[in-house]
């Protein structure tokens, strides 16, 4: 189960996802610069990513709480998600994400 992640410097990393873990956890443990200040509680909007290459539409829709919390993120685009709310599974194998600017 792979996650292709582009960091803030534009470098692509291929990380091993884990079933049931959030994408935020995989990015953080993979050493990418992502604050995730609240630790995955959908309370800070500092794990903001863009979901690339058509993957956005394939994901389960964000919850109300996540949509609300995205209002506190910077540089939000239509393909923005909070990575603590995107859960790894076989369906997300190969997902492409870009870490949003700080």
């Amino acid at each position: 189960m792979k996650i292709h992640a582009i960091d803030r410097q534009g470098k692509e990393h291929t990380l091993e996802g884990r079933d049931g873990w959030s994408v935020m956890e995989i990015l953080r443990d993979g050493g990418l610069d992502i604050a995730a200040e609240c630790g995955g509680a959908c309370a800070c909007a500092t794990c903001h990513v863009y979901i690339n290459d058509g993957w956005f539409e394939k994901l389960p829709a964000p919850s109300e709480a996540e949509i609300d919390m995205l209002d506190m993120a910077l540089a939000v685009e239509p393909n923005s998600r909070l990575s603590c709310q995107v859960i790894c599974s076989n369906e997300t194998d190969g997902i492409k994400v870009t870490v949003a600017p700080e």
Binding site: E37, A41, I67, D71
Partner: protein, 347 residues
Amino acid sequence: MTAAPIETDVAIIGAGPIGLFAVFELGLLDLKCHLIDILDRPGGQCTELYPEKPIYDIPGLPIVTGQELTNKLLEQIKPFNAQFHFSEMATSLEKLPDGRWKLKTDAGTELIAPVVVIAAGAGSFQPKRPPVPGIESFENAGDGIGVHYAVRKMETFRGKNILIAGGGDSALDWVINLAPLAKSMTLVHHRDGFRAAAHSVNQMRELEKEGKVKFHVASVKAIHGEPGKMTGVTLAGHDKSEWHHEADTFLPFFGLTIKLGPIAEFGINLNENLIPVDTARFESQTPGIFAIGDINTYTGKLKLILSGFHEAALMAQAAFHIARPNEKLRFQYTTSSSNLQKKLGVS
């Protein structure tokens, strides 16, 4: 304006759960504390990020919210009468000839203490700065012009072309409050929906209907003008269309984020923005400066509130010997010591 320096036993940076519990552990040893926090209330991340969210891993409290935990800690430390300095950022730390430390804040407070405890979590909460090139040069441009992350005096915005960005309560509250005195008021947000309270959203929509507020689903891509004299911005919609918008001032409201801040300049050894400590004393590599909670690092560190409580207890023992070098530390239990119970006001 600098008031007279305050002498105390321990200066604590950070009034989050660990800073608060440190007051308890130090208080049992008769050490008096002053706390500094950049927020305007105690609790740190617990009250700023998740006041309503339940925490399940505090020993003995099967479920407690961030706010409730803060309230309980405040109740627990009440007998020790700690002094709080809120809305102040610790900005510098210097060693005095007598071996004590002088800690200064951006509000001019000066604390002099033999022991400093850094319980600052991940650092200082600061407003989120939109990733617009050169935005820094428009900050601190003066009253009512350039980029502001807070409104101190509404009057300074009278007659100005104001642009506000964001969709939370702060953004909408300031749209509503500043619209009557603005020359023009424009709100931009990334979607046609808002996180803010429903009544604020309704009020904003009314103002929009009356033509007193313009709303665009857009974001700020560039700021134009000279540093100190902003003339406008480039706005961009999701369809990538871009247009110029005249504005004297830009107020982004995206909440707070945590930056290490001036602690990095204190001269304490840091490892990736964390303070390495020993696990017997939780002292940094600078004697007399302790670090507890999320800000420290050591082999096996877990960023848990409960770990911070443990660190506070051991820190207090070590701090005692620095603050009271000629006294013998008497280790006692609150359950059995009438002396401790008297301090707690329960006997």
